[in-house]
């Protein structure tokens, strides 16, 4: 790999998605992009990278999508979802009682498992939410991932990662070797193509934002910027979820940790 090719692709990825690829992560380019090179009938990664500057929007987009796609699973880390059910949902029921509606955003939703996990929880708690309007929006930069999310079709491996078997039996149907989530769950989520670095206002306001394991891919200024942008589209009683290895401390003063609740943050105004 020529240094100038690496520099070009790293800069392109940062500009388009915020993703930081350092030279020690160059192997990721190899594993993620070689399939694209093959598909296009090129010899390998080097040839693909050489074509990238003049490759046009399609190629640049495909490369960005391949590099930013990350595996996701149902009820990832379990705790945040238990917390959602036992703490956040009761809070929403109390705070939003007057208008009987709230909105949840799964940012960088990948193939939809997080958004669908939340839908299943809300479905299970249906009795408490009778007459309520609950909107769940999943956004991702990758067109391909969103297609998969909308279809709600998962492999046998995916459907076993994090999903309790009772939930699987209740909400999934098997077609040959794949599993599809029930239409009643699917229709609870809207999936939209969206770049987190763009102006978030068009998405509207969200009472709860799940932005887990996203900031880890950004550099410090981008992290601060994204957190600041999120703070502008949540109300004063809004809640932000970050991944287990992420924090707002030292990055942004727009959010503050909620005491004794790991991973969730309140707006700091």
């Amino acid at each position: 790999m020529r240094p100038e090719d690496f520099a070009y692709v790293a800069k392109m990825l940062k500009e388009r998605s915020g993703l930081i690829v350092t030279p020690d992560k160059a192997y990721l380019l190899e594993s993620r992009l070689t399939p694209i090179a093959r598909k296009r009938g090129l010899k390998g990664l080097d040839e693909l990278l050489q074509q990238l500057p003049s490759g046009g929007e399609d190629l640049q987009r495909e490369v960005t999508e391949a590099m930013t796609t990350n595996e996701s699973f149902f009820f990832r880390d379990i705790k945040p979802f238990d917390q959602f059910k036992s703490l956040v949902l009761p809070l929403l029921l109390k705070n939003k009682a007057a208008k009987k509606s709230f909105r949840i955003w799964s940012a960088a939703c990948s193939s939809g498992q997080e958004a669908y996990s939340l839908s299943m929880i809300i479905k299970e708690e249906g009795a408490k939410l009778a007459g309520w309007k609950v909107e769940i929006v999943g956004t991702d930069i990758s067109h391909e991932m969103l297609e998969k999310a909308r279809a709600g079709i998962y492999s046998q491996f995916e459907v076993q990662r994090g999903l309790p078997v009772q939930m699987m039996v209740k909400y999934f149907k098997k077609n040959n070797e794949t599993w599809q989530i029930d239409p009643s769950i699917r229709q609870m989520v809207q999936f939209r193509e969206f770049n987190l670095l763009h102006d978030l206002k068009s998405l509207g306001q969200f009472d709860v934002v799940f932005c887990r394991n996203v900031l880890i891919y950004f550099d410090q200024p981008t992290k601060s910027k994204v957190l600041e942008n999120i703070s502008k589209i949540v109300p004063d009683d809004g809640i932000l979820y970050l991944g287990g290895a992420e924090t707002v401390l030292g990055i942004s003063d727009k959010f503050k940790p909620i005491p004794e609740q790991r991973g969730i943050y309140a707006v700091n105004r």
Binding site: F157, R161, V169
Partner: protein, 121 residues
Amino acid sequence: MKSCLIVDDSKVIRMVAKKILQELGFSTAEAEDGQKALEHCQRELPDAVLLDWNMPVMNGLEFLNALRKLPGGDRPIVVLCSTENDIDHIQEAITEGANEYIMKPFDSEILQTKFSQVGLL
């Protein structure tokens, strides 16, 4: 340290499961069919059982039934682990008292997430 009894007629599967479970901090014991597993449980009850379905001598569900009838036999957490991957089979296993269900083939991530869901990790 929690204990897990691995019940499978395939030596290879028992070996793979043993390696994963020991890495997760379990002490393990093995049985090659339901009968041997039941004999083990009559001597001492494990915290968890990773249980294959189709085995000679006594199959997984027959073992599960017998286990649940032992004194204290409702305590071990049983994770069925089978190539049977249709809803009817899974439903039957749950009805018979399995706490979780893994469709083969599995990897360490699946085993780990399933074991944490049932509170073993």
